[in-house]
Each structure stands twice: as structure tokens, then as C-alpha cells.
């Protein structure tokens, strides 16, 4: 049987409320969801809560899920991201500070960026303001367009764009600061 067949059977059983099927689905997608959750939270504990809440929501709404339209992974990740955004909004943690973006700094090519591992990137992202981090995640990592992000966050598309620019600029500064790259060294970061 193909993977899709297995998932189809698991979904059918999960819709009936079979715990073994729900557990299997959870174990299949938990790692992927954790990878996403960790980008939207401060620490692993908060990420775990987010993953759990997302799976609970998924199993509650599983009747609406149609496997013919796609696999459950993207569906659960969308639930997770929405949940994360709700949490941000609920706690008023999303602030989009306006900052004038001056002329783009010259791009400096360097191989140092290529040496950054996922953990380093995550650490850098954690240091960003939450509004910037969320927009960076949504646009750069998840691939949402600025119009979509605007709708999700209740801001305009141009505000999303400017926040992304800001987050890139901040990231560049953080890289220079944390890794000790001197101004005269090329970082390869390209704003905009």
C-alpha cells in the first residue's frame, strides 16, 4: 500500500474517533509540526503546547478534511500557524514598529551565511522582534505572499513588506554582531 493509502485509512479511522489512528497520525506529523512551531515560539515548551493545541484542533475538525484534496500535513501546519498567530494576537505580542528604511546597503557576498546551521538561524530569529520574526517566517520560510500575510495579521501588504525589510536588516546586524563579522567583510546579505 502506498503512503497515501495508509494515510487515507488512518484518516477514515480517526474520523470515527479511533485513538490508535489518531496516535499514528500524530506520530507521523509531529516532527514536522514541531519544526514549524519552534519558529513561532520562544522555546521548546511553548512549541510543544502549540503542537498539542494544533493536533487537538485538527482532530476536532477532521470531519471536514478531504484527503482527495491533499495530504493532512499542510492542513495541520496551516492550523498550527493560525494558532500561533492567534496566540500572538491574544497576548498583544505582535507590534510592528515602523522604522524608516534608508537606502539599501550594498550587498556583500560572503560564504559565512552558508556556514550558518539551522540552530544558528533559529537563534538569530529568536532575537528578532516578534512581528518581524512572524513576517519573516511567513514570507521567507512558509512562502506566503504579502497580501496573504496582511490578511492573516490584519495589516496592509505594504506594512508586511516593510517589516520584512526591517527583519532582514536586523538579521544582518545580528549576524555581524554575533558572528563578529566586520563591516569591511562581505556578508552576502541582500536587503529587500
Amino acid at each position: 500500500m502506498t503512503n497515501k493509502d495508509n494515510i487515507r485509512i488512518l484518516i477514515a479511522a480517526a474520523k470515527k474517533g479511533t485513538w490508535s489512528a489518531q496516535k499514528e497520525l500524530y506520530l507521523t506529523y509531529a516532527d514536522d509540526m514541531m519544526s514549524i512551531a519552534i519558529r513561532y515560539t520562544k522555546d521548546q515548551s511553548a512549541a510543544k503546547d502549540l503542537v498539542q493545541d494544533s493536533f487537538i484542533k485538527f482532530f476536532e475538525k477532521i470531519e471536514q478534511f478531504d484527503i482527495e484534496k491533499g495530504m493532512p500535513g499542510p492542513w495541520i501546519s496551516r492550523i498550527l500557524i493560525n494558532k500561533a498567530l492567534q496566540n500572538y494576537k491574544k497576548e498583544n505580542r505582535l507590534s510592528f514598529e515602523t522604522e524608516t528604511i534608508f537606502a539599501q546597503e550594498p550587498s556583500r557576498e560572503t560564504s559565512i551565511i552558508e556556514t550558518l546551521e539551522a540552530e544558528d538561524i533559529l537563534n538569530l530569529l529568536q532575537e528578532l522582534p516578534e512581528g518581524c520574526r512572524v513576517i519573516f517566517n511567513l514570507n521567507v520560510v512558509e512562502g506566503y505572499k504579502h497580501e496573504e500575510i496582511g490578511k492573516m495579521l490584519g495589516i496592509t501588504a505594504s506594512a508586511s513588506r516593510s517589516q520584512l525589510t526591517r527583519s532582514k536588516k536586523l538579521l544582518r546586524k545580528l549576524i555581524e554582531k554575533n558572528i563578529g563579522i566586520q563591516d569591511d567583510r562581505k556578508t552576502g546579505l541582500k536587503a529587500g
Binding site: W19, I38, I56
Partner: protein, 500 residues
Amino acid sequence: MEKHFKNKLKQHKVDWDKEDLLVGLEATLSKKESPSKWKWLFFLLPLLLMVTCWGVYKNDLTETTLGDLATAKNIDENTAQKEKENAITNMGLLPKNNTDNANELSGHSITQSTESVSKTTSDTKNHNQKKDFPEASNYAGKSSSTNINSDKENKVPTNLILNMDSINQLATVPRASTAIPETIIKNTETRSENLSTESLILKQTLVEQISKDKTKQAIITRLFVNSENFLFQELKTDITKNGIEVESKYKKKDSEPKKYTFYAEPSFVAGLPQRKTKYTNSDPTVNAQLEANKNMETPKIYSAISLEFGLAIKEKWMIQIGVEYQGVRELFKYDGFYRSDTTIAEYDKSSYFLDAAMDTVFFAGMRPYIENKDRKIRHWNTFQYYSIPLNIGRRFQFNKTAINTSVGISYAFGHDFFGRNNIIKYDGTNQIIDNTVFDIKSRFGFQVGIGGEYQLSERKQLFLKASLRRSPTFIQEGYEQVYWTYSLGFGMRYFLGDHY
């Protein structure tokens, strides 16, 4: 930078123990699942309960009042007869051993005391002359109380005492100047040996009270229908003359139907189901295989049991809701390959084997063996679902019979499948498995029906109905199925309130 960040983050796996969340997840899901499956029942049951209680309450109210009055009919005949004999003997109207005439009195239910009977002749003459009752109410009250005392002494059953109380209540309203209708006088003259003055007074009082009070009118009207009692027949004649209609309960066409009547309707339905299948798999090869194998499962029998509660509007329109269990039995046929357990069989021919020295050894007798067989397997599958039907009907009444048409929808709130199923795999092979899980795509089905009804009694109707039903839509991997059923059902309709 973006590309690198994206790739790294997408590939990144967090080192964590995902089993940690399982306990909390299971606990949360188990809490939330249980009520959702039966949530419709929680809405429906209180509604049905309320309708039933209301109907039963109304029913009890009517039955209790009628029951109290109807006890008049059930008075111990022997006690009454004995008293009448004594009274008439004391008056000297009958010899002690002559009970034939006195037996005629047994038709009415009101006992007489010696005192009241002794006044009968003079009072009756007086009435004939004056045609009024200047002290009728006092007299009635006095004689009634005397009766009760007398009854107690003679150990008259309680129902008699209660009955007398009920009648006394009716008789205590003053009506001194009221004239007795001629009919009563006439009857009194022709049956003077049967009717006491007290009976006349009570009768007169009842006539007046019934004329005034619509509730009592309805009660007494009902009582007349059930009673062949002489006194009540007399009263019936008088009341009729006073312009009150005393209708038979079965003469439905002469009476105005009630606007709203509640009823309960248990029924059983059996029919022939047909399954319509739609293949939805993206792989046409699998669809073709499913189509080729569809004759493995043949729906054979459909059955349903339901309990519905309804509202009849002017006995023409009916709207009803309830709970229904529906089941489809399917015959599942397939070729199976069976291998028996090791069996010992006796061979009538010699058998042989090669021993270690490669010598051929022959022997005869017993030998274990395994038998392989291809078999045609027949298995009964059961598809069952529970639904809430909502029907609207129209009745066309013809005396005691009626034609009933109905149309409605049903909402399935639960379903189960018990049996075997043929699963077609993507590699082209198939597998017979037990108890497949079916999902439900659309919970709504519908039904249309036409049938006949027969009025069994005031409250009970029998009905027979032919119907066409469509089940909800069920889905299994790669296909959808719906059952269409031609069915015949019968049941009984029981009216809960005051039907006519």
C-alpha cells in the same frame, strides 16, 4: 540568504520527545469525542419526552374525570338490588318474594333509601300538579346524605360513595324555580315504579348543569356513549330535548375535528434495497476493478424500526419526528481458499515414503494430511444507521379508513458496518477484510410514502404504508454508496390527547 535560511529551517528537525504529548492528547480527545457522537440524542430526547409528557398529562386529565363519573355504571348491582327490594317491600308495593319487578330497577345506578322511596308517590304527584320543585335542592341534599349513611352501613363499595359525592356536587346548585321538562314527567309516570323522586331531582339538576357548563356537558356526553344504563338513557333523551347534542364518539364525520392532536407512532418497515455506487478513485484501473467486483455484495433485505411523535392538524395534515433504526443486510460472496487443520484419515490404499536409507516403505492405514479447498464463501454483512426522520403527511379520510401520503427527510446521526469487504489495492490485488470503516458523506436521506389507515378505536389507528427511501451517502476508499429501498411498513398510531 532567504534561500539558505528557508532550506535550513525546512530541513531542520527538532530533537524532542514527541511521545510526551500523547498522554495529554489522548485525554483531551477522549473527553471531546464522546458527546459529539450522540449530541443529537441529547437534543431530541428532551423534546420527545416533553411531547410525551404533555400528551400523557392531557390524556390522564380526561380519563380521570371520565373514570370518576363512569364508576356510576360499575356500582355493585347486588347491593343496589338488595336495597331496592327492601325499599319496595317496606312500601308494600311488592311481596317479599317477588323480585322480578325489582330487578327492572337494576338498570340505574343510584341507590335508594327507605326514607327517600317513602316520599316518592306523594312527591311525584305534587310535581305533576305544580311542575316545579320549591325545595328541590335541600331535598336532594338530604336524601343523598341519607343514602351515603345507608351505604356505609351496608358496606357499599367505595366507588359508589365517590360517585354519589360527584353527583351531589352537581345537584347542590339551587334551581328552585326551574320547571321539570315534560319528558321527565312523562317518563316518571310510565316508569314510576322505577324512578324515585330523588332520581328525578338529580336528573333535572344534571340537565341544567350540563346545559350551563360546557366541561360537564362534554363529560356527561362521553358517559352517555359508554352507558346503556337506564337512567343515563333517560337523561340523554332529556338533554337532547334541551338542545344539547349527544353524539356518538364514532360518528366522526358529524363532529368538528380537533385542530391539534398529538400522537405516537411505532412502526416496522421491511423492503428490498438497491445499492447505487459511484466510483471516485483517481486511478481508473481501480475503478474498473471495483466495478468488476461489485456483484460480490448484493443488498438483500432492508428493515427499519421507528418511534415517531407527531402533530395532526385538523386530522388532515400531519408533521412528525422521531428516532429510527435502519439496517441493510447484504450477501457477500467470494471465492475463498481454505486450508484445514491437520486431519487424520484412513487410507484404503497403500501409501509409501522413502526412509533414510532411501528404501521405499509401503504401509496402509492412518495418515495425517492437510486438506486444501476452494470454497464459495457466503457471508451476511450488516449496514446499520440511526436517524431522525422528519415527515409531513396529508390524510384523506373516508369514514373509518383514510389514505395517507407523506414526504420527509431523515438525518443520520450514527452508523455502523459489520461484515466483510473486498479491498482493491493499488497494486491490483485485493484483500477480504473484516469490519471496514465507512465514513458518511451526506447525512441526509429522504422518503416518500403512500398508505392506508384503519380506525381501530377512538385513539388507535392501524396503518400500512408503501414507501421509497433513500439512505444517507456512505463513502469507502474510492467509492460512494447509497441505498434506495422499496419498502412496506405497518404500525399503529396512538393519539395522546383528546382526539375527538
